[in-house]
Symmetry: C4
């Protein structure tokens, strides 16, 4: 590797290690059950969490580097057991720079019921552009989970998919955006759960959902701004 | 600006920055989705959160100053995307010195259902004087949200409104009072949700609600005291 | 006051100030809505939280001393607005050395429904000896709340009462025991809520409840031990 | 005791004391209601929490050592009131090196209803191999709780049992594994509660559950790796 790639990887190790703290801070994970990765821009490489290392012990040095077939290239630990799913997404979706996986409780409850989260909130329209979709049931150990994620999210506005009976995968232009989508997905899933069990959520007009999403995406395209509510 | 106004703004920058920590401490916000503002007394100015800055990075220096049309007057960041709503409230309600906006989960679930929170708790009678009302659905980007807030709260006892399919706005004589209303609104919304899903909440007599509210308001008018429960 | 009483009060100021941290740590309170007091042994005095002071600012020095009519004897702040209720309990129940009041969410939801918490848990049998009872609706401002607490708890095994549409009061031989009862009351109220909304809680035989309670009380009478589960 | 055993015990005191912090961090316990123990390998001894000591005050020095009849061998405090149940498990299940007991809210709600937790999540298939079973109601004070745990878990894939109307006991090859099972049990119990109250959880095929469990157990047998999701 040349010096630029080496420096990029060093920075991404630091970034990805630090972003895992957002998973614990936002109560998205139990024990070691969640992971963040980042694509190394312009390389067929990614930086990802090591397997079975507790969040307290994650540092830039403990992160591992894999190629986009999930083969370990650099690092002292085995890569996350979800590495194949992350790798598949990077291979199939070149615009994706970060992937996050969690079993966050409310979102996973929707996944256990095989139900997409209907859009009853302006914050959901901003970030997800409508419903958060359910993906297929898929076993770990091959490309099935990755295929299910890509089949569901390709061409969809939502950066989050609820994999049936499993949990959440989110994507973003970089790892930070994917973490933000994971945080917002659980927040939306919780409020949607509460609304559903409380009463009768009021549907939003599709035109209003489109308008909110378009505004956020377009404004977003011009300059770094935050969505409504920030 | 003269020296007094400059000093006032410096103090409000500090106060408003610090009050955002109450939003995170009380679990009212996810990622960057909530904001606090304060009117600069006697000026057509307000201090408000910058857009898209994470709560960890908020300091007095990162706060921004806008006029009451929402135009940036002082600061290195764009103002919160909710600035127009805050500004409209300050223009329409001269007695308001602070405004808070959140998507806190339980209150927003009531908002998603388009239901006001009925008053089954003495703490709600103290602080809100009865039900917490629902405001209209309104799109971001103009004065519609501000108009909806003011139309709902003008002449109402409650300092909090549940904007339909959106979230909570609270007002107060200063920013701290508005933050307190946001904390109490979520607390009341959670207990009301639990009571509704548990059994049949017992209605309170209107005379008892009035008596609790009047006592708190009147005692409050004479000297700084806290409501029942403090 | 003689030197012994002065020293006792100094120690209780410290103890009561510190015990408030258990209210926040266990998520029993929002903003300033909860308070702890302790009787000064052998004196017609109690140490109680000042009104409207935030939990961050509570120190031994900010606590106040009142007589058992609720009149301020020593301190720089007004006593808690719930002082009359605490005072009534100390006057009527000489065995009580500590009183705690909260609006903790799950317990207050049962209170809003006017339902006592049925005993489906061994931990509840240990600590409360059976159901946690509901007390009457009572307005603040006189002896009505205190009377309702005493009428409900006198002769009852439970050290906690759910005051209707209001919140929780707990008693104990000292302030720490009352705080423990408040923590356990919310824990039991949460599990009972979850069991009720999940399915059909299995009733416990009265003989088993009695046996658990007797064992805990008797063992407890002989030497300081903890209940089952510790 | 020879020097090796003395050193082993010193290390286990440290480990067991530290593992209690995972109970509080993961919100599995209220006040002092949860405990961890570890078998001293090759000895008829275990290290366990002292009774009634708050989690803040737990250190290696405050842990106690008992024999496998629950008799105190070493330590300045009485052993946990659940010592008899831990001891029975170590006597009956020689492969068990650690035991944990909690009243964590969601799992205990399933226990209060006398319902096992059905397997609707891949994470549950990984860790528990299917449903998490309910054990019998049993009174404290003899071997009944221990017998109920062993009768339910012997030959069962699950390392966790929901003791009816009581709480959770988990086992593991060491104390850390038992703590992990307790954390995952509550996580699974919460998601299963949310799914049940939200809609209709989708059943998983038994073959898929078996496949997930076998993969995890077999891979696990070969080298230290983490389950899916880590």
């Amino acid at each position: 590797m040349n010096a630029d790639v080496t420096r990029q990887i060093a920075e991404l190790r630091e970034t990805v290690a630090r972003l895992h703290a957002e998973l614990t801070r936002n109560n998205l994970v139990a024990w070691t059950s969640g992971n963040v990765s980042a694509r190394v821009p312009g390389q067929d490489l990614m930086v990802i969490k090591p397997s079975g290392v507790s969040y307290d012990d994650l540092t830039a040095a403990t992160m591992v580097v894999c190629d986009l077939d999930g083969v370990l290239i650099e690092g002292d630990f085995a890569p996350s057991s979800d590495t194949a799913a992350h790798a598949y997404v990077y291979r199939a979706m070149p615009e994706v720079g970060g992937v996050v996986h969690t079993h966050s409780s409310y979102a996973t409850a929707w996944a256990a019921c095989g139900e997409s989260i209907p859009c009853h909130l302006t914050a959901q329209a901003d970030e997800f552009g409508g419903e958060i979709p359910v993906g297929p049931f898929a076993l770990i150990g091959g490309d099935d989970i990755g295929k299910g994620i890509v089949a569901t999210l390709a061409g969809h506005r939502s950066p989050a998919v609820l994999m049936r009976n499993h949990g959440v995968f989110t994507i973003g232009r970089n790892a930070r955006a994917a973490v933000k989508a994971a945080v917002m997905c659980e927040d939306v899933a919780r409020t949607a759960y509460l609304a559903r069990t409380l009463g009768r959520p009021v549907p939003m007009a599709q035109a209003d959902i489109d308008s909110l999403y378009d505004r956020y995406q377009n404004v977003y395209g011009q300059q770094p701004v935050a969505p409504a509510g920030s």
